[in-house]
């Protein structure tokens, strides 16, 4: 985890990691965070008990699966979805349920 320490310049920020062993001096003032979307560094994919499988050949790129994902784990680029973000997908299966073309299967485990 690299989150900036308040008083550092940007190079120092990169070096200053905040984690559960950080001394109090490294905790940002007021617990403020000055960097967007640091949660990406926390991998919730480990929570999965079942896993969506993307069958590209069946996909018609309707993108109906995109907005239903609670974990922003279906990346879209130039109007087309890509492979699941397995670092973060929690395996809820909503995407598989809404896919009209059977392009998302669910498999047991990670």
């Amino acid at each position: 985890m690299a989150v900036p320490y308040r008083k550092g310049n940007s190079d120092q920020m990169k070096r200053n990691d905040i984690n559960e062993r950080s001394p109090w001096q490294d905790i940002t003032e007021g617990n403020q965070i000055y960097e967007p979307a640091t949660s990406r560094r926390f991998e919730t994919g480990e929570w999965r008990v079942s896993t969506p499988v993307y069958k590209k050949e069946k996909c018609r790129q309707c993108l109906l699966c995109v907005p239903v994902c609670p974990d922003s784990s279906i990346p879209v680029s130039e109007g087309k979805r890509g492979e699941f973000d397995y670092d973060h997908c929690k395996g809820c299966g909503i995407c598989a349920a809404v896919c009209p073309f059977g392009a998302i299967g669910m498999k047991e485990g990670k």
Binding site: R6, E20, E29, N31, Y34, P36
Partner: protein, 395 residues
């Protein structure tokens, strides 16, 4: 040249707010602080300030909006009293923990119940653990001067803590006194422009504020707040020194009156110090007894070492509290002074009194009686009660 005026304490605060021209003022009316937002609303209505007033629907929302506005990068002021501050209680802690330099004009008033609109310190003393810097005043002049010093303290990069500037309800807030005001330009220069390093509306980088901090982080966060409070000691004195250069008026953590050779000392906060001063003069003139007064200005951070140094060699000390804390052993100031003296291994006798609760008057004669009791205590080393009242009717 200073401007000579006659203003009430509330007018003096409003005058300072006009000079500082803060960005945002969320406030909700409550006696006896109501006049402050009214005066500011008038300044706004007549184009005298750029401040935006938020007509919040409660004091809880006043402090909530203050937190939001301050986090967004604005200089924020609010004013309240008594139950208004009690309703803010949760938010006081958030403002301090978020390290937001909000300034509050607190007009001290007794907390309910029973409902009472007069001065005592139960409101601010109840918030003494909230992480706010607390500065108290004896006179309108001090309220004004303290208010001008509030932002330079709060916004100092080693501090970043909210500050409450306290004055006694009605006694100073509504009492009109002669006052020396600083010219607008000098105030502007003294207070300076607010340029936070980090804020929500910083176009260059987003900021996230107010996380859920699990136990691995909470304690370290609190330690950081303590460091800021420690730093505030230094900064308060630096700002006071700068203020003295501008006005010639000197401020510290507390004011000592005829303390050099004093043997019997009263420690007090707020407007009643003026009455005590008269008692000191009268006793010294009449009997030559060595009595003195120590008036606390800064209660948070608590100037423990300096206070102990000033009191350690005295024969007897009476600490006067204007609020109960129902420990059944004393009041908040009494407890802290005792603790400071214990740490300094002082052998001074210490006794704690309650006075002026809910606006009860205290007279010169009352103070004289306290000095008499201190003298007796120093001789006998036996207090009738370590925790007594002044002006209480008893059967």
């Amino acid at each position: 040249m200073a401007i000579r005026e006659r203003l009430s304490g509330n007018e003096a605060v409003a005058y300072a707010i006009r000079q500082i021209n803060p960005d945002v003022m969320p406030a909700f009316p409550i006696t006896p602080s109501t006049e402050i937002p009214q005066y500011v609303a008038n300044y706004i209505a007549n184009g005298k300030v750029d401040t935006e007033f938020i007509h919040v629907e409660s004091e809880h929302s006043a402090m909530s909006a203050a937190v939001g506005a301050s986090a967004a990068g604005a200089r924020v002021v609010t004013a309240t009293s008594s139950c208004g501050m009690a309703l803010m209680w949760e938010e006081l802690y958030v403002a301090a923990s978020d390290r937001l330099p909000v300034v509050m004009a607190l007009v001290n008033r007794a907390l309910s119940g029973p409902i009472n609109i007069n001065a005592d310190h139960s409101d601010s003393m109840g918030a003494r653990d909230s992480g706010w810097i607390q500065i108290y005043a004896e006179s309108n002049q001090e309220v004004y001067d303290n208010f001008l010093q509030a932002y330079p303290i709060a916004e100092h990069e080693a501090v970043h803590l909210p500050v409450m500037i306290c004055q006694d309800g009605f006694i100073t807030s509504h009492g009109v006194e002669n006052i020396l005001l600083v010219e607008d330009e000098k105030v502007k220069e003294f207070v300076g422009e607010y340029c936070p390093a980090h804020y929500l509306l910083n176009e260059k980088e987003p900021m996230a504020l107010g996380p859920y901090a699990v136990s691995s982080y909470y304690m370290e966060t609190k330690r950081g707040q303590r460091e800021a409070m420690k730093n505030a000691r230094r900064v308060i004195l630096e700002v006071a020194e700068r203020f003295e250069k501008m006005t010639g008026r000197k401020y510290g953590f507390f004011e000592e009156y005829r303390m050099e050779d004093a043997e019997y000392v009263i420690v007090i906060i707020g407007s009643a110090a003026g009455t005590c001063r008269a008692a000191v003069d009268h006793i010294r003139k009449e009997s030559g007894k060595k009595v003195g007064l120590l008036k606390i200005r800064v209660f948070r951070p608590f100037p423990e070492e300096e206070l102990a140094e000033a009191l350690r060699d005295k024969k007897a000390v009476a600490v006067l509290d204007r609020s109960e804390m129902f420990s059944a052993t004393g009041g908040p100031l009494g407890t802290e002074v005792r603790s400071a003296l214990y740490g300094a291994k002082s052998r001074a006798e210490v006794v704690n009194y309650f006075y002026g609760l809910g606006g009860r008057d205290i007279t010169v004669e009352d103070f004289e009686e306290v000095y008499t009791k201190l003298e007796k205590l120093a001789e006998t080393h036996k207090a009738e009660d370590m925790y007594d009242y002044i002006g209480l009717r008893e059967r």
